[in-house]
Amino acid sequence: MTATSASPGWRRYFTWNTDHKVIGVQYIVTAFVFFMLAGILAMLVRTELRAPGKDIIDGATYNQVMTNHGSLMIFLWILPVLAGFGNYLIPLMIGARDMAFPRLNALSYWLIPPAGLLMLASFFAGGAEAGWTAYVPLSIGGPPGQTLWALSVILLGFSNIMGAINFLTTTITMRAPGLSMWRLPLFVWGMLATAILSLTATPVLTAGLVLVAFDRMIGTQFFAVASGGDPILWQNLFWFYSHPAVYIMILPAMGIVSEVLPVFSRKPIFGYRMIALSSMAIAVLGMTVWAHHMFTSGMDPRLRIPFMVSSMIIAVPTGVKIFSWLATIWDGKLRFTTPMLFALGFISMFLIGGLTGIFLAAIPVDLHVHDTYFVVAHLHFVLFGGSVSAVYAGLYYWFPKITGRMYDERTGRLHFAANFIGSNLTYLPMFAAGLMGMPRRVADYDPEFTVYNELATFGSLLLAVSVLPFLYNVILSWARGPKASANPWSGKTLEWQASSPPPPENFEQIPTVTSDPYAYGEEAPKAAEPAAAPATG
């Protein structure tokens, strides 16, 4: 322990380092910087939309701001921050010394900063204006910034694929003795499902973007209508990745929630196997729903039915998770720490995102609400109320492990309150605006929608301010918070057996696993006794 914390200091975070914990922190901090930038862009959007008419930016600039807001939030915040958790936690949780391919791991991180700079550079090259969906032919005809955007997302695609290979190999081959698949923490199950999705879907988007870049740069005609190119082809390629991407952004988040709830309820997770299987079911079903983004497009009408059915079926494994979480806290001894509050906030807001997803899957209703603010509200409840809440829960929960210090609980609760109220105030009015007839991605709107937009802008202001207590808390606590013990929450997963922060290579001796990771309320079985497998009934 003594040799560890003294070693390379903070400078190692700015170097090529193959320690999975350093890489994990690099991912998380870099992603958070992009989160702040994307948040500033969101504030520009909300300021422009506070009142009807042109306020601060014109239509073309609005499209650039909106495009980069979405692209940064998805490709450079949620995806990499969750990959950061995966990097930091998987080896610790499975009792390994590092990832299977440490240098590939460093490479997949180091692709991210240049990709992010490339994306931001689009602002100085005429801008990327086609939305994060980059529909052709709009994205083919746009200014040169669109090419930089495409190259950026291609780089991020490579990073994502390499990360997935690493997660998959590490989890399959490097588990500690006794750690069977049915004893795997649910966060690791979530990352496993995510890695499979990434490996299957990301190459398709990356290849599609290469085609777009070729059309733009060397005059190929893959998507040129006049030469027989098909704009719908791009939508198929794009959504074949980008709907699974939603699950890539939510499955690890659900995993975080499944870790936090049992610890602070002092109860085993309810229905362990069903939750793990639900993650896999969502991953498999998630591959079959992409065309529900295209119900209004020129796709063959008959093909819409199977996509509607598969999209609705996903509600079932998702429901299983929500009910299992409720049953986990039921009859528990709840401790309302900041991570617990964010995990409970996740359930309450993700539920709204999930229920409104059924409306969107029902084709007749979708033909009205598709491409309106109803969709904007839905996706923000899933990705902000859902994924980002879980990310915050994870950041607070593992803060003592990562930094070796405790955060301040009161500031954390303040952050939660502002974030929770701000989210609902921002996104709930958007449902009403969309149903009443406000299209998405508009720089201006009819005066009848003013009240919804004023509420949303006010809520977004609260969201922006809510980041301040978080930053204050994290920076101050990291510098001089009280020292954390190895296991401040009395957790049962393996990362709490290592010191805080863990030394390089994590464990002095690889632990032998003898029980499931959520054995609360039971006398800890001593090493010799064969532990019961987690019950399913």
Binding site: G298, I305, L326, I329, L344, P439, R441, Y520, G521, G537
Partner: protein
């Protein structure tokens, strides 16, 4: 004990279902229903809203109850009971949502079939989208217009396409939306049931002017519609009509064509100032340049990049000259 639990569950179920019916019946979340399709879509929407309301209050209620009821007692550091699961409960909350989803799926499928079957003897109206205006064609009359008028109660099939990027034709009051995709024609069937003027919006991001790509549909009595058609046909022999058909009136004010938009510069009395705009271009030359290359000169106070760049390709040289002559002749 068991009886009390059952009794409580029954009460909660009744309250929740009552709440579902109440919300579904009372909520007024959409614009006025102006087509047969709107009635069917809204019915489905209300069913979804009712079911969602029940699930929403069930889950959030359980969450809030748990938060209030199961808070750790001060000084109690022991663990809670080691309950790992309950097979019958887990089967129940897998099967019930599955059953609900099947019912919703079948119902949605029925509604979809019904709303997409055009009424008897539908009139075809072509919808042409372009950056950033809508054009319409009545093929039976061989008539192109910039306004969309429909006779109330008569089924219509829109044949929707685009001249440049993807747009989406959406009439919120009809509850229908269909993408306008270049190189293909998509159909949408509607039977308007209410007279009135309803907004048309572009729902697919199509460029800098996406939010100003608006229009409206006028639903009127068959007599008024026929009168409008006759008037439009008379106009078609007029060069001003050509101006309208191109969509110029969506952005420019021109008294001679009866347009009042202010996105682009006004065009009345253009001949008097056109010669002074660009050194080396006479009045007619400037007007022509402004049509085929709109960003060649931007009138102060207006925004570049909004006007379509493809008029040079869309118009024959004769048509361009006719348009220039028409604009130069406006007082």
């Amino acid at each position: 004990m068991r009886e009390r639990t059952l009794f409580l569950s029954a009460i909660i179920a009744i309250v929740l279902i009552g709440l579902g019916f109440l919300v579904a019946g009372q909520a007024n979340l959409m614009p006025r229903e102006a087509s047969t399709r709107a009635v069917e879509v809204d019915q489905l929407f209300r069913v979804l809203l009712g079911v969602s309301t029940v699930i929403f209050f069930l889950v959030e209620g359980a969450l809030i109850y748990a938060v209030l009821r199961f808070r750790k007692k001060a000084g109690d550091e022991s663990d809670a009971p080691a309950i790992h699961g309950n097979t019958s409960l887990e089967i129940l909350w897998t099967l019930i949502p599955a059953a609900i989803v099947v019912v919703i799926g079948v119902y949605s499928f029925q509604v979809l079939g019904s709303i997409e079957t055009p009424g008897r003897g539908p009139r075809v109206v072509e919808v042409i989208a372009r950056q950033f205006s809508w054009g319409f064609r009545y093929p039976e009359e061989d008539l192109a217009t910039t306004e969309l008028h429909l006779p109330v109660g008569q089924p219509v099939v829109f044949q929707i396409t685009s001249e440049d990027v993807i747009h989406s034709f959406w009439v919120p009051a009809f509850r229908g939306k269909r993408d306008a995709t270049p190189g293909q024609v998509s159909e949408m069937a509607i039977t308007p049931t209410e007279t009135g003027v309803f907004p048309i919006r572009c729902a697919e991001l199509c460029g800098a002017g996406h939010s100003i790509m608006t229009s409206q549909v006028v639903v009127e009595s068959p007599e008024a519609f026929d009168a409008w058609l006759a008037q439009q046909q008379a106009l078609a022999s007029d060069p001003g009509q050509f101006f309208l058909t191109l969509g110029c009136g969506g952005c420019h004010t021109l008294a001679g064509a009866g347009t009042t938009a202010s996105v682009g510069p006004p065009l009345d009395g253009l001949a008097a100032r056109a010669g002074d705009r660009v050194p080396g271009l006479d009045a007619a030359g400037y007007v022509e340049q402004s049509i085929v290359d709109s960003d060649g000169f931007i009138v102060p106070g207006f925004q570049p990049g909004l006007m379509p760049k493809n008029f040079g390709e869309r118009l024959t040289p004769e048509q361009t000259q006719a348009l220039v002559a028409f604009l130069m002749a406006q007082p």
